[in-house]
């Protein structure tokens, strides 16, 4: 029998039909929706006089637009309020489970899916959000889609999709002190560029990947879109099964045993061939930070900003434009650069482990006076856990306040905007121009790097504080 990759096995098992010389008709097991990319799809469906075909496989939560303080009050901004309300109405009309702002399970769509046990190995999962790749951490095929495709899934529980090529990224060895999954992600993207994964679906493997917790694996898979890949996945193992067991939507009793036996088979065959393969040494990865305006413009915290001398043509124009925007000069050190804002949260780093890491670092220290810090849990459950574990007291003693769940300053659709020209060290996923607010300057990093920056008030190496 032909050796197959994990990706092939799951994909091929979900093909309903093949279009000649065209895309596959892929069956979707779980469809997550939020307020921003669903309304036009619901409208389209209504125009066809249809309702959602499989509402029981669709899960909704408002996350992009929601405020992160005073969530018990009506949303102040009219357009945001209307978008969130539209989601509620659409879900009610179509019998879709909605975890609204006042629900104990509310949170960022890519945080709540896994934490409720909705995300499971071997599934196909889509959402009108590019960071759907997060769910691949469980050994599922998960990817972001556009609104036309959201409508396809509403209408048919299927999507037309050409099969991507396969890439494997191995990270072998032991990670250095203070190096997290986020650093692996930023390192890999810096190595292969922000478009290096385009057209491919990644499987992450190797001993350094195996050593990651589920939270870490989610952070890594979350960022796979930032190298242009359709998604990233990690074969499930005991770490995965332990994480899922007992969660609200996880299989129980006999069904658990049956599912577990199936999930244990989910891995790439030994001789499976990937279209592209990279291997990196874990020991080469330093705590990372970005200096430019795409996630591929990253480097170790002790490094110097590249000079860009060898670049020509539009590469050079683009590089110069990025440094101008950031207010950085070629060849400069990034360590010691002043930091105005720190953001801990988002679907990339808004899980309990991220806040534990942050709390552990800031415990007994004081936030630099000039730094504004936004500590935003990824979900109500994470928020509850932060309180139960006594992390809030640690935050408060160090000068930090805890906010309420949502996408927040990752894309600044709510009021959490970094002001023009200000520097932010952010645990989110994109440092694009204006991503965190018009004119905002974003440096992406891990929660540990963010903690170090919040305490030092400048870009700092957490190992030196």
């Amino acid at each position: 029998m032909e050796a197959k990759t994990l990706f092939d096995k799951i994909w091929d098992g979900h093909v309903v039909s093949q279009v000649k010389d065209g895309p596959d008709v892929l069956y979707i097991d779980r469809h997550f929706i939020h307020e921003v990319t669903s309304p036009v799809a619901f409208l389209g469906l209504e125009k066809r006089g249809m309702k959602v075909f499989r509402p029981q496989n669709t899960i909704a939560t408002p996350d992009h637009n929601v405020p992160t303080i005073n969530q018990h009050l009506p949303i102040k901004e009219e357009l945001s309020r209307f978008q969130v309300e539209t989601l509620r109405l659409n879900c009610a009309k179509n019998d879709i489970q909605l975890y609204s702002l006042d629900h104990q399970y509310h949170g960022i769509v890519h945080i709540i899916g896994p934490e409720l046990g909705i995300t499971q190995p071997g599934m196909t999962i889509v959402c009108g959000d590019s960071h759907t790749s997060t769910h691949g951490a469980f050994g599922s095929i998960a990817f972001g889609i556009g609104t036309s495709e959201v409508e396809m899934v509403f209408a048919s529980q299927c999507i037309l999709q050409p099969k991507p090529k396969k890439m494997r990224i191995n990270v072998e060895g032991k990670l250095l002190d203070s190096v997290t999954a986020k650093d692996i992600a930023l390192y890999v993207i810096a190595q292969i560029s922000s478009s290096g994964g385009t057209g491919h679906f990644i499987e992450f493997s190797g001993s350094a990947i195996r050593s990651l917790t589920m939270e870490g694996r989610m952070t890594l898979c979350n960022m796979s879109i930032e190298c242009g890949a359709r998604g990233g996945m990690i074969a499930p193992d005991e770490v995965t099964f332990d994480y899922i067991k007992g969660r609200e939507y996880a299989p129980k009793g006999e069904e658990w045993e049956t599912k577990l036996a199936q999930w244990q088979q989910l891995k790439s065959d030994e001789n499976a061939v990937f279209d592209v393969e990279f291997t990196f040494d874990a020991a080469d990865i330093e705590p990372m930070i970005t200096y430019g305006t795409n996630p591929g413009m990253g480097m170790g915290v002790n490094g110097t900003i590249p000079t860009g001398e060898n670049l020509v043509g539009s590469d050079r124009i683009t590089f110069g434009k990025a440094l101008d925007y950031m207010g950085f000069k070629p060849g400069e050190k990034i360590k010691g650069k002043k930091v105005d804002y720190v953001f801990i949260g988002s679907c990339t780093n808004g899980r309990i482990e991220d806040f534990r890491l942050f709390a552990n670092f800031v415990k007994g220290k004081k936030k630099a006076d000039h730094v504004t810090a936004w500590i935003v849990p990824g979900s109500k459950k994470v928020e509850k856990q932060i309180r139960e574990e006594g992390l809030v007291e640690i935050f408060e003693a160090a000068g930090f306040a805890l906010r309420q769940p949502g996408c927040s300053a990752c894309l600044a659709m709510n009021d959490d905007k970094i002001p023009e020209g200000k520097y932010s060290v952010s645990t989110s996923n994109r440092n694009f121009e204006g991503r965190q607010g018009p004119g905002a300057r974003t440096m992406l990093a891990s929660p540990l790097m963010a903690a170090a920056a919040a305490i030092a008030g400048v870009v700092a190496d957490p190992r030196e504080i």
């Binding site: 010389d21 590019s130 972001g144 556009g146 922000s194 242009g228 359709r230 204006g434």
Partner: protein, 195 residues
């Protein structure tokens, strides 16, 4: 339901020789709050196109009267980042029918195809030639022919073929809609679920 048909187009081009133009530049997140598909064209490249005071930035190509046309030509890795289809809507609503680059981000590419907008991927050297042709003469015309999958620089006469899968080509030529096609497969889908 259907998308607008596309067969052939002869037009001037609007050049944007910048790489990695992400969807946050094409349309910033703060303009994604509508619940209907309208008005996105006004906010295409919002933060490059307008100054902080809301006045047009005269240095930006969309505000330069020298350039016009239904073909947008951009540097490599156009449309990276978010899956927001609003980016495709914004480009389309601003009057473009074709986007040319040497490389497109995956989700953006699917999104434009689902909206009757043709992504044309060309080699780096052909892209550079377009930029220099337009730089020397902004009125230069280009022809994009979907049937023969060819893009031609009418000023220099050089042309290249571009790829598109035959299913999507058929959809664009005839204005077919993916969703109608999927709905027609309902029986197959139900039997797949029961298997």
């Amino acid at each position: 339901m259907s998308i607008e048909k596309f067969k052939k187009l002869v037009s001037r081009v609007v050049p944007l020789p910048i790489e990695n133009v992400d969807t946050d530049q094409i349309i910033p997140a703060r303009f994604l709050k509508a619940v209907e598909r309208k008005g996105f064209g006004d906010n295409l490249f919002r933060d490059w196109r307008y100054k902080k005071d809301g006045k047009p930035n005269e240095d930006f190509v969309l505000n330069n009267p020298l350039y016009s046309g239904e073909i947008l030509v951009a540097g490599k890795n156009f449309g990276s980042g978010s899956s927001r289809e609003h980016a495709a809507w914004a480009v389309y609503d601003a009057g473009f029918r074709v986007v040319v680059s040497s490389f497109f981000a995956d989700i953006f590419k699917s999104n434009v195809l689902n909206n009757g907008l043709l992504p044309v991927q060309v080699p780096d050297n052909f892209l550079s030639e377009i930029f220099s042709t337009v730089e020397s003469d902004p009125t230069s015309l280009f022809e994009v022919d979907l049937e023969s999958q060819t893009v031609r620089n009418l000023k220099t006469g050089s042309s290249v073929q571009f790829e598109i899968n035959s299913y999507k080509k058929e959809c664009l030529l005839n204005g077919y809609d993916d969703i109608d096609f999927l709905i027609s497969l309902k029986d197959k889908i139900v039997s797949f679920e029961q298997a």
